[in-house]
């Protein structure tokens, strides 16, 4: 399972666009990149998944460069309720023997 590196924490303001970058230098050919959001006392919530280029859904966008060694989660116009921990995960549920959620990025949205 490819190791990922994310910033420990980020602050932003309501209405801003927030970009969280994750490094995964050892990503394998078959690996997908998945981002999860977690609030206290809850399980991780799936946000978006991609393999290459750009993926967009109703919640976020995911930018993946050609070499796939990093990815950027983009949250448009954040609100206070977006304050959470965001995890970048590289691999595939059900295929890998180990799925490890690291420390994630603690995003704090200010009014």
């Amino acid at each position: 399972l490819a190791k990922t590196t994310q910033p420990i924490s980020m602050d932003s303001y309501e209405g801003q666009e927030v970009n969280i970058t994750c490094s995964h230098n050892n990503i394998a050919t078959n690996d997908y990149i998945t981002w999860y959001q977690q609030f206290p006392s809850q399980g991780p919530r799936f946000i978006i998944q991609g393999y290459k280029t750009k993926v967009t859904n109703e919640v976020a966008s995911l930018f993946i460069p050609a070499d796939r060694k990093s990815s950027t989660l983009s949250l448009p116009r954040v609100s206070l309720s977006d304050t959470a921990v965001y995890y970048c995960l590289v691999g595939e549920w059900g295929r890998d023997d180990k799925i490890i959620f690291g420390k994630g990025t603690r995003l704090h949205i200010l009014p």
Partner: protein, 119 residues
């Protein structure tokens, strides 16, 4: 050197049966969890448990019950299985609790999952 293991990996059973899924962690962690993953890949926490308290998600039917014979094991028992119970169930562990006000961001180690199919 498996950190979190689950058995069985696949479980196919009939409606109405009672089944158990076993989970073991060799990391010396204090807290273990059970998650249910739906078709949209949303991980819904079902239980978290350490030697101090059991936190139950109130939306989980009481047909589901966790059993912890010791700190390294948290088994999931399911009675009177229903079609809607079909899903992938993940066990996880962490050093400290991420539930009940614990620090979110603690590293959670997940098992490989158990694919349950109820016919």
């Amino acid at each position: 050197d498996t950190a979190v293991s689950q058995t069985p990996k696949y479980l196919v059973t009939q409606m109405g049966n009672d089944k158990s899924i076993k989970c073991e962690q060799n990391l010396g962690h204090d807290t273990m969890y059970w998650y249910k993953q739906d078709s949209k890949k949303f991980l819904k926490i079902m239980f978290s448990y350490n030697n101090k308290e059991l936190i139950i998600n109130e939306t989980v039917p009481n047909r589901f019950s966790p059993k912890s014979p010791d700190k390294a094991h948290l088994n999931l028992h399911i009675n009177s299985l229903e079609l809607g119970d079909s899903a992938v169930y993940f066990c996880a562990s962490s050093q400290d609790s991420t539930a009940s006000g614990g620090a979110v961001g603690e590293t959670q180690y997940f098992g490989p999952g158990t694919r349950l199919l109820v016919l």
